[in-house]
């Protein structure tokens, strides 16, 4: 009895409700989370966080956090949960608790027309001398290393730098979570192309929470089940990942 009450008292859920606002940690990642022209946050993850807060009946505060420090920031309570396109992985789950997946993505690859002409399958990239760029600390980096072990991997802190490296012709291809590669190939159609459509991995994404907070985890899991069943998540996914309608909101 007392123990259960104490746990509830300490749970993030209680403090969110007390404070009247949900603090969400994320890092900029187009089109998951980014700033629009007016400096407001928009993106897929932002929609998810807003809806979650709305269903809880509280406001929302975004805490943009550099990827390097995002786990310590969660652990030290700089925000309540991390809704940031984080792929669920067993070793990560040793440090944080993951909710059930709220959507699945996979890795895709975009290549440079001149440096890597007419490559059509992953195997074409798996040679020494091929340079693959990706963002440091993402599952993209790990997927690239696993599927193209012979290629050289170059890691950058943010996607734009990786893409710039590719555009500068200093790399053969860029690996990232779909649909970013596809969107880049459209934007720079003269230089980049998709060797093949679709993804070469499948990764479930979850919301990350501090360990030991079962109540909040249970709440988040339940909420995900509901919005998935509604089809709301799928609808948002379509808007952000399959259309480019949001493009003119940022420029």
């Amino acid at each position: 009895g007392d123990m259960a009450r104490a746990l509830t008292e300490e749970s993030a859920l209680t403090s969110i409700l007390k404070r009247g606002s949900l603090r969400v940690g994320m890092d900029t990642f187009v089109p998951w989370a980014m700033k629009d022209k007016n400096g407001e946050f928009i993106g897929f993850e932002i929609d998810v966080a807003r809806r979650l807060a709305e269903d809880l009946g509280v406001g929302v505060e975004f805490v943009p956090t550099a990827w390097d420090g995002i786990i310590p920031a969660l652990l030290s309570g700089k925000f309540d949960m991390l809704i940031g396109g984080m792929s669920i992985r067993a070793d990560r789950a040793a440090k944080v608790n993951f909710s059930i997946p709220y959507y699945d993505t996979g890795m895709a690859i975009v290549a440079h027309r001149e440096v890597a002409p007419s490559y059509t399958k992953l195997e074409d990239f798996n040679h020494s001398g091929v340079v693959i760029v990706a963002r440091k600390g993402t599952t993209a980096a790990r997927a690239a290393a696993r599927h193209m072990p012979n290629a050289t991997l170059k890691l950058f802190n943010k996607e734009p730098q990786a893409v710039q490296e590719l555009l500068n012709g200093r790399a053969h291809a860029f690996v990232s979570m779909a649909p970013l590669p596809a969107q880049e190939s459209i934007k720079h159609a003269d230089k980049l192309y998709l060797p093949f459509s679709g993804t070469f991995t499948t990764e479930p994404n979850g919301i990350a929470l501090r360990k030991g907070d079962v109540d909040t985890l249970n709440f988040v899991d339940s909420w995900i089940r509901v919005v998935r069943a509604e089809g709301w998540i799928q609808e948002r996914q379509h808007y952000w990942f399959e259309t480019m309608d949001w493009q003119d909101r940022i420029q």
């Binding site: 900029t28 990642f29 187009v30 980014m34 700033k35 022209k37 007016n38 400096g39 505060e61 805490v63 943009p64 956090t65 550099a66 390097d68 420090g69 310590p72 920031a73 030290s76 700089k78 943010k158 996607e159 734009p160 730098q161 893409v163 710039q164 555009l167 934007k187 230089k191 940022i250 420029q251």
Partner: protein
């Protein structure tokens, strides 16, 4: 170097340097022609500096907001760091072995650790504890509205304040180590005879500091202190890793969103340059004033 003799106005070295610079520029221009292929979109940058809000009024854009945060952060950091640096700098010149050693440990530890790492450790382990112990967050949220506005104007909005304060403390500890050394050098640059004369006249240690040493050390401390302010502006870029939304952070966010890598980096660099050059000019004036005051 030591003689002023009438010589031709243009020297061989002048010509050599001009030729070297021109050659470099020409070579770069030529390489740019053949290599760089970039779709410049400078016309989009303006809105990140100044933009119209919903009501049509002109408000600072994202980068300008970042710049303002950088300025606020640097000014507060400098104030706090000067305090730390003065105390520790005097400790380093003290007769007490304890104070000297404490000062030495502080400077040695801080200056030999990469700032990024220092930032992480201090931010996650110490700053939060201090803020929690002082209950800053609650106190600020409970403060009257006008006070919150004043805070937002001089530091950061309420919800970003704890982060701002943590970053401030961390940076202050970092810059303080450098100021400590400036203060120490300044005090030690005062001739020994001045200490002795003050002693012989019967002045107490405090009076000696206040009336004899500091007035002479200050003109020598202020110029490097001004230089340190410029460093602070630049170093404040590292607090972007702990998510304080200063200029570098905003630049990186914007780049992540728009992919306008070069335009944004160049704009950010120019903003920094404008800030630091303005400070340099001010610093030089201060230095001249002090130098004139001394002679």
């Amino acid at each position: 170097m030591m003689r002023t003799r009438k010589r031709p106005a243009v020297r061989p070295l002048d010509i050599a340097v001009i030729l070297a610079l021109a050659g470099l520029a020409a070579y770069m221009g030529w390489r740019v022609e053949i290599r760089l292929d970039y779709d410049w979109r400078w016309e989009l940058i303006g809105q990140y500096l100044l933009r119209r809000d919903a009501s049509g009024a002109l408000v600072p854009g994202v980068l300008t907001q970042g710049l303002l945060t950088t300025v606020r952060l640097s000014v507060w950091t400098m104030l706090a760091a000067t305090l730390i640096g003065t105390v520790m700098g005097l400790a380093r010149t003290s007769t007490s072995l304890f104070r000297r050693l404490a000062g030495q440990c502080y400077v040695g530890l801080v200056r030999n650790t990469p700032p990024l790492v220092l930032m992480f450790i201090f931010y996650f382990f110490l700053a939060d504890q201090l803020l929690n112990a002082l209950n800053v967050d609650a106190a600020v949220r409970a403060a009257p509205l006008w006070a919150q506005h004043a805070l937002a104007l001089t530091m950061a909005p309420v919800n970003e304040l704890p982060g701002f304060l943590s970053g401030l403390m961390t940076l202050a500890v970092y810059e303080g180590a450098y100021i400590t050394e400036h203060v120490r050098a300044g005090v030690q640059s005062v001739e020994r005879g001045q200490f002795e004369a003050a002693y012989a006249l019967g002045l107490s240690p405090w009076q000696r500091m206040r009336h004899v040493v500091m007035p002479q050390a200050l003109p020598r401390i202020v110029p490097p202190l001004a230089g340190q302010f410029i460093s602070t502006i630049k170093d404040s870029a590292i607090v972007s890793v702990i998510s304080i939304q200063e200029l570098t952070f905003q630049g990186m966010e914007l780049m992540a969103a728009t992919y306008m890598t070069f335009e944004i980096w160049i704009t950010v660099a120019l903003l920094y340059l404008a800030l630091t050059v303005a400070c340099s000019l001010a610093a030089r004036r201060v230095e001249l004033r002090f130098r004139r005051g001394l002679s």
